[in-house]
Symmetry: C2
Subunit: 193 residues, 2 copies
Amino acid sequence: MKPREDIQNIYQTALAVFSEYGFQKTTMEDVAGRLGMTKGNLYLYVKNKKDLYHKTVAHALEAWQSRVLEAVAAQTDVKEKFRIMCFKAVEYLAQDNLLRNLLVRDPEIFPMFSDKDPFADINRNSIALIRSIVVQGIAEGVFRPVDPDRISDVVFMIYKMFIIRMYIRAEDNALHDMFEDTVDLCTRGLFTQ
Amino acid sequence: MKPREDIQNIYQTALAVFSEYGFQKTTMEDVAGRLGMTKGNLYLYVKNKKDLYHKTVAHALEAWQSRVLEAVAAQTDVKEKFRIMCFKAVEYLAQDNLLRNLLVRDPEIFPMFSDKDPFADINRNSIALIRSIVVQGIAEGVFRPVDPDRISDVVFMIYKMFIIRMYIRAEDNALHDMFEDTVDLCTRGLFTQ
DNA sequence: AAACAATTAAACAAAATGTTCATTTATTTA
DNA sequence: TAAATAAATGAACATTTTGTTTAATTGTTT
């Protein structure tokens, strides 16, 4: 029998279409056509259109997150882990035209204020990563003994704010500089020590 | 009474929407919304959706053509008129993201092979411009005594081929160089004189 | 040849869209 | 200030599109 279509390929292809046209203007036929199958067949892989969209976005967010995780894991110094985590997240998004364009079209993917976070599970992983670095830093005595849970939420909130402000224009250097200032402020504090 | 909506603004706004989504995925509601009116009202300005699209594209092509015409009119030397006509046409299209993107989405606007040219009237103006330069050049003795009608068609055909090949990637420098070579070949010939 | 897996393409209900037009709102005129 | 005129709204409607389902077909394995 024909090999079953690779679900990763489906998500990646769907991402390209949703990125270009957005959720509403993209049809199941658009995605199926891009995949070289009929729209009826697409329902063997996903439950419905919303399911396809949610899984597509989740897949892209997870891929982005995995790359950051790998970059962090390659560091041994915990301070550098923190810095790398911050900067790589922004850098990798800047490089991902499809995901970035999708975020532009659908800011609800990454809500700043709404309690409804459609990708809460994935974002919890990001917060968990922040938390693990903070815990390690405190254990090694190179971070101040702060409450890891609270600080993780704070860092993630600030990070989200920057992502939301930056993804409209990935090339805004002024904001990029401000991001560096913010990371510097968070890591070194304002007062001399 | 309220001032009637400026038809130029309608075409410019419609161009932005058609450029982003293409003819099929753009709805009358999209355009009307972008204009701050209801879709019902849009029918006071255009006959139907196809009419809106055709007039929108025509308007953009004419604007592009007018810019070239002005650039040519600013020259006095007929050889320079010819060169400026060639290069400015390409340059102005490269600068017009909306029109270029629309051409990418709808190559039928500028058919290479089809006898059906939906904008034949506008293209005839371009050919007429070429012809008037060739006639002037011959009259001044700086162009060889060629058949102006035939050569105008040839030049326009070559020009169209380059536009079609270049508008997919406005930044393709290799093709741009080839275009310069082609203009050079057309104007100076291959043989030493 | 039979069984199983993958896919197609038609069918269908629902939604969306292009278009029309009665009504409303805004502006001008007498 | 009322009437006339112009511009626009928004609901209605016919048509088209789309999301979804599924019987039939095609391809592969046993």
